[in-house]
Symmetry: C2
Subunit: 475 residues, 2 copies
């Protein structure tokens, strides 16, 4: 997953979502009129045999470990796949071929334009109070430094508030944010906006403590957003360890000097594709349950967890349905997004390209918080749709994955949900997700075949049953 685009943007998104919910509450028939919904409950209960078949195939049968092996082969073969890179092109070709070979239908690529930011060579050295090489990763969209780097004294702060208080000390300095980790959602603001906030008070560069609760001196990259009208200064993440050390030095009154050198640059947008494959619906082929994950990753690690796993289980769910000879009334569509990390760029264009057909989108699903041990789904939709989804989740009782939380989310499906389409994201036991997120630790070593089997089963049962019900989910 990416970071949030900007705090302003997020706020507007949240507001839209709230308005949509309020509209829904006012306009949708409430559950008091329970007869129609009892009919759906009865309909859903008849899927218990099919759900068990899917589970048997995915968890114990010939599809056992297949999603793990597909993901391992994919990420071992291609490696990481940052937006705009040759590797992302290779990944799209790889998946196009794999989906075709798997016998899925309507396999095709939908053109999008995506950002092309390149890291270049980068390094940072603390020169005072002693010589020490800092582990860094430049942040996506950062400008570079002059070729000889920027050498400047450091101002360490623990919050935006502290930066404001010390604004008069920031001019000409490198601002180091040593903010504590509270939660990803809250703390990522420092990565997203730290450079512009530092530039506003005259800093020449900013270094952000990596947004993670745990580190083995591991830097975590991610996209950042320059604010309009503010000077663009180079920015990179540093490790928890180095941020804390500079924090201690500053508290002791020591003068810290760092030289930051970054070859980063933003090249013109490039052509890319969202990758699509389907099982066509038998009765309402124009109506769609969409399953998705993103193919791009950061340019570190293998991009196994973020988000190779989400992409692969979206493919795997279709394979499972196909292998069982099932064909739901509506179309199952796997979409493997391009350029999620720069802010859902491929998905935003997909929304523009397909929103005219919004009434045909039954449910949009995204997995982008890891394919670890599944707990259930996070769901956004009307009360009636939620009641139906709760019933669908009961079909997953044999593997104990029946939870239906609120707040379905995902950079790549948010626009659909804001426009009223029910949305679901995979909810997993992801305590360690942010330990590896956007770092060299995002590799196959964090994935587990048994856990991926369960994720694939959840994804396939939910998508198939929803796509096969007599009626689309109520909005």
């Amino acid at each position: 997953m990416t970071g949030n685009k900007s705090r302003g943007h997020n706020f507007i998104q949240a507001l839209l979502l709230l308005l949509t919910c309020l509209q829904k509450c006012q306009s949708s028939p409430h559950l008091h009129n329970s007869e129609p919904i009892l009919g759906v409950f009865k309909e859903i209960s008849k899927y218990s045999d099919i759900a068990q078949q899917i589970i048997d195939l995915a968890v114990y049968g010939k599809a056992q470990n297949r999603s793990y092996e597909r993901l391992a082969l994919f990420t071992d073969t291609i490696g990481n796949r940052v937006s705009g890179s040759k590797n992302l092109d290779l990944a799209i070709k790889y998946m196009y071929n794999a989906l075709t070979k798997d016998g899925l239908v309507n396999v095709h690529l939908e053109p999008v334009k995506i950002p092309h930011w390149v890291r270049g060579k980068e390094s940072a050295v603390m020169l005072q109070p002693r010589n020490h090489t800092l582990s860094i990763l430049g942040l996506g969209s950062s400008v570079g430094t002059p070729p000889g780097g920027i050498e400047a004294e450091v101002l360490v702060v623990e919050s935006f508030e502290e930066l404001k208080k010390k604004a008069s000390e920031a001019k000409g300095k490198i601002v180091v944010y040593n903010q504590p980790f509270v939660s990803y959602g809250e703390t990522v603001a420092y990565r997203a906006s730290g450079a512009s906030e530092a530039a506003k008070v005259g800093a020449v560069a900013s270094l952000i403590r990596s947004v993670t609760p745990f580190s083995i001196n591991s830097p975590h990259t991610g996209w950042q957003w320059y604010q309009p009208g503010v000077a663009q200064i180079p920015t990179a993440c540093i490790t928890i360890e180095d941020a804390q050390m500079m924090g201690r030095m500053a508290h002791r009154g020591q003068r810290i000097v760092v030289r930051l050198t970054m070859g980063a640059q933003t090249l013109p947008d490039v052509d890319s594709f969202n990758t699509v494959a389907e099982i066509r619906g038998s009765k309402h082929p124009e109506q769609v349950v969409l399953l998705s994950g993103h193919l791009d990753s950061w340019d570190v690690g293998q991009g196994a967890m973020d988000d190779g796993g989400g992409a692969v289980i979206s493919w795997e769910a279709l394979s499972i349905v196909k292998d069982l000879g099932l064909r739901p009334k509506r179309t199952l569509r796997a979409v493997l997004w391009s350029a999620e990390e720069p802010g859902g760029v491929g998905a935003a264009q997909y929304f523009q390209q397909h929103k005219a057909n919004i009434s045909n989108f039954d449910l949009v699903m995204e997995s982008d918080l890891g394919t670890f041990r599944p707990l259930g789904l996070q769901f956004t939709g009307s009360d009636k749709a939620r009641a139906i989804m709760k019933e669908v989740m009961k079909l997953l009782a044999p593997i104990n994955v029946t939870s239906l939380e609120r707040n379905g989310e995902g950079t790549d499906i948010n626009m659909w949900m804001q426009a009223g389409v029910p949305g679901a994201s995979l909810h997993t036991a992801d305590q360690r997700y942010f330990w590896f997120h956007h770092s060299d630790g995002d590799t196959m070593s964090v994935q587990n075949p048994e856990e991926m089997n369960l994720c694939s089963a959840v994804w396939a049962v939910v998508a198939y049953v929803v796509a096969d019900l007599e009626e689309m989910l109520p909005r």
Copy 2:
């Protein structure tokens, strides 16, 4: 802590220890004659007030957080301190000055000769089946490669047994050990002997999966030992992630090619020092309770955990005793070892220099497994000594650190224990110790002030009380 020197050496050490224990069992008066020991128990119980004073000072009083702050200032100022480096010289000078300034007595440096291995520039790239940079750390004492590096096909094995089976395939290859982590004690054999075992079957280099149960793509270095008469080939550690990936590739039958470049070399031994400070005994100043940790570290991270913490609490224990105006009957001697990591080199010379006085060594203590939340001590000694130590540990009931396990150990005190001197090592809740060990993750960020307060209290109470008892610990 270092790894074990070699498997042969270890076996001999274990045998010696066993023989010593057997001797002890036969020669020492057993506990049946309980009168004298009951006297000691009574004597120990009278120390409960002093123990409480020590605890109050270390945990709640003016020494609160002092060991953490001393360690932070030391490691932030000096950084890491590998054997033979200028940084280790600086560290010794720093500590000499700090111990003197603290008002301890007989602060002095005892000359030793220590290894001088330098890493030089190093890199490893997987060239086939795709291009991928491997995170490596050359292993201590490894030879370098030719300047252009060694480019060779890889043979992946998961054990020495598999290497033997595949011996005919190893010639001219780089052997990659992808051994699972069982325990440090068991698995470190691959780091210690992997190069020589690979060389025996004709390999040109070896890469060892880092000896750790957890990784964020983090390589862990350590010393390795070439076997006499076997070709010396370059050797480095790689990450769990890369070892597992090459394992998967090999299982798929893919050809893997790696280029390894290492500028490592062993220079002539250099002069160094064990650093000593004391509180002189009031009645038997020639008799000694020795507290120790090592000042050298690996050339990564800060060497905070391995073993800055052990060195600093050994200093801190003396400070606490001094601050309380206490003076035990016997001398408390803090020894900060030089060159533990290459195999207890400084400590071995100390043993040679002082073994003539072995009868005056009451108890040797070492902390080299982390200064985390203390659980108690691991102790090696006669049954009678153990019974006395158990009673001493009861004085630590106020902070719930009363456990006395068997198998006191520590590279730097083993020789004394093998020669019959009672030995104790600090036992802490160190579940994550090997996550950071010998990696860039060994920094102040893994240390906690409250935990270090407790460690200091344990160290001070045990050392003071044992040094102040009427009789030395029975052997």
